[in-house]
Symmetry: D3
Subunit: 129 residues, 6 copies
Amino acid sequence: MPNVPMVEYDDASPDVRAVFDEIRAARGSDQISVYWKTLAFHPPTLRRNWNAVRETMAPGALDPMTKELLYIAASVATNCDFCIEAHIAHARRLGMSDEMLGELMAVVALASGANRLGVGYGVEPSRRQ
Amino acid sequence: MPNVPMVEYDDASPDVRAVFDEIRAARGSDQISVYWKTLAFHPPTLRRNWNAVRETMAPGALDPMTKELLYIAASVATNCDFCIEAHIAHARRLGMSDEMLGELMAVVALASGANRLGVGYGVEPSRRQ
Amino acid sequence: MPNVPMVEYDDASPDVRAVFDEIRAARGSDQISVYWKTLAFHPPTLRRNWNAVRETMAPGALDPMTKELLYIAASVATNCDFCIEAHIAHARRLGMSDEMLGELMAVVALASGANRLGVGYGVEPSRRQ
Amino acid sequence: MPNVPMVEYDDASPDVRAVFDEIRAARGSDQISVYWKTLAFHPPTLRRNWNAVRETMAPGALDPMTKELLYIAASVATNCDFCIEAHIAHARRLGMSDEMLGELMAVVALASGANRLGVGYGVEPSRRQ
Amino acid sequence: MPNVPMVEYDDASPDVRAVFDEIRAARGSDQISVYWKTLAFHPPTLRRNWNAVRETMAPGALDPMTKELLYIAASVATNCDFCIEAHIAHARRLGMSDEMLGELMAVVALASGANRLGVGYGVEPSRRQ
Amino acid sequence: MPNVPMVEYDDASPDVRAVFDEIRAARGSDQISVYWKTLAFHPPTLRRNWNAVRETMAPGALDPMTKELLYIAASVATNCDFCIEAHIAHARRLGMSDEMLGELMAVVALASGANRLGVGYGVEPSRRQ
C-alpha cells in the first residue's frame, strides 16, 4: 500500500476523472495503474505530470522507443523500482527485445561505474579546466 | 587539476601506452582526453574501463547513437559533469541534433521528477504489491 | 527483517535503554520503532543519532512542522522508503494536511526535474561563471 | 559556459520571448538568469518548466517561503550547485534569515545521514514488514 | 521476482554455464545467487561483471575485507538493497564483526550528512577556489 | 566562494573558537580548512559535525585508515567534490599509497555499476523474495 490512499475511477472528482479518461484513451485500456491512482491524491500534480508525460514522450526528433529507453535509464540511475518495472513494460509493448534491454542495462552500469571514476579522480569539464 | 596526476603518453608504461594506442585508433585522433590520462593513474582500471567502453558501446541490438544518448542520460542522473560534456561531444560527432539533445534532457527531467513522486508516495512494483 | 538483529527494550544494555527511555518520553508512547530498535545494534550510533534528531528537530528559527517537511523532502530525494513513511506519519501528527503533503511532493518533483536540466545543460553557480 | 549555447532576449524566437517576458514580470527585473537562457535551447522544455515553477511555487497550503526551503533541500540532496545558489538567493529575497538557512542545512544533513542508516541496516516501511 | 527471468544452471547456455562454474568454484558452493542468475539474462554483462568482480576484489594493496567494506559503503550510498545484504554476508564470511559493521555504517552516515553540508554551503575543492 | 560567508578565527564567537581550537589541536596545524570555516556559519552544526567526526573516525574495530577509505568511498558515491579531495589528503597523511587509492576507486566503480544492474533488473534482498 502506498503512503497515501489511491483514488479509484468511480470515486474520482471530475478533474481527476478527466485525466483518467485521457490515460485510458492513450493506453487503450480501462485499467488505471497504481501510479496514476496514487498521483490522484493531489489533482494538480496528476494533471501536470500526465501532461508532461504526453508531451515529452510523444514522437519528435527521438522516437518513442528511444524515449522509453532513456526513461528506464534515468529511473535505474535514480532508484525508482516501480518506474523501472512500469517503463520496461511500456518499452516491451513498443517492441523492446531482451537483447535491447540487456544492452541498455549494460550501458547504464558502464556509465555509472565510469562516472564514479570521473568524480572520484576529480576530472573536470573543459569549461573549468 | 584532478585529484591525482595525469599520465602523458610519453611517460606511460607499456601497458598504459597499449591502451592509449587503442583509444587513439578508435577515436582517430592522437589526443588522449583528460579522463583517460587520469585513469592511467591505476593501469588495471584504465584497461578494464576501456575494454568495457569498447565492448558495451559497440553496435548491437542498440545502435551507437542510442547508446550514447543512454550514457548521457545516466551521467546526468548521477551527476558527472565531465562525463556529460564528453558524451554530448561524442553524440554530436555521431550526428545528434540540438532537437535530439533537447528531447533527451526533457525525458531525463521528466523521469527524475516522476521518480520522486513514485518514491515519495511509496508506489511499489507489482512484485511487492 | 533488517540486515541486523533488532534490540528489544527488555534485552537492551543500560546505555541503549537510556536512549529508549528518552525516545519513549519524547514520543509519549512506550513503543520503540523498528528504526531505533535496529540502530541499537551499534549503541554509539543510536546515541549520536538520537541526540542529533532531538537537537536538530527542536523548534528554532524554523518550526517543527517545517523541519519535518524538509526531512521528508530530503528522504524522498535520497530514497529512504522507511524514512519517508515514518516522517510522513510524524508530520501528520503535527497537523500536516493532505494538501500540504501534495504540495511538498510537487515541489520535490519539480526541483528534481529542474536540477537535472541544470546539471545536464551544465549551468554553473555564479562563483564559477 | 554551459554545454549548449544560451539564448539572449534579443535573439529569442517569439515563443521563447513570451516566456522571458513572463519571467521578467514575475521577477520584477529585466534580467534573465543563466538558467532560463540555457533552457531556451529547447523551447518546449523552457515553457513546460516555467509553467511548472509558476504553478508549483505559488502560495497554496504551503507558503512560498516553505516551498523555497523545500526546493533548496531537494537541490542539496540531488547535487545541483547552480540550483542551490539560485534558490538560496530566492529564499533570501523572501526573508530567509541566516539562522533559517543554518537549520535547513542541519535538517538535510541529519536526514541524509539517518537515511543511510535506515537503508544500510535494511529497515523497511511497515507495508513490507 | 526480478524484472527479467532468471537463468537456472541446467538451462544455461555454455557461456553462461562457464561463468556459473567459475562462481561455484570461487564461492565453494554449488548454489548460484539470484543476482548472478538474473545477470545471465544478458550473457556478455554476466561475463564482464564477473570478471570485474574477480579482478577487483582480489587481494592487492587492499585486503579482501577492506574491499568488501568499501563495496558495502558504496552500495549503501547508492541504494542497492540486494547488494547491501549480499555484501554484508560476504564480509561476515571474511570475519567482519558486529562492531566493524556498526562502525562502517557510522562512517557512511557521517560522510553522507557532512557531504550535504559541503554541497549545500558550496564548499569547493581547492582546484576551483 | 561558498554560498555563505566563512568565519575566520579572529572573528569567531567563543563557541566557534572552541571548536576551531579542538580542530587545530587534532590536526596539529593552526590552519582551519574552508570546510570548517564555512560550517561556522551555523555554530550548532559546526559543533555537532566536529563531535561526530572526532568520535566516528577515532580508532575502534576499524582503524583510522580504513575509516578514511570508507569516507572517501561514500563521498565519491554521493558526489561531494570538496569532501573527496579533503579526505584523499587525510588518507595520504595516514599513509595511503597510490595503489590503495587506485583499488579504492576500482571497488567503488565496480559497486556503482553492479548496483545499477541489481536495481535495474529488480533483484530483491532475501527478506523480500
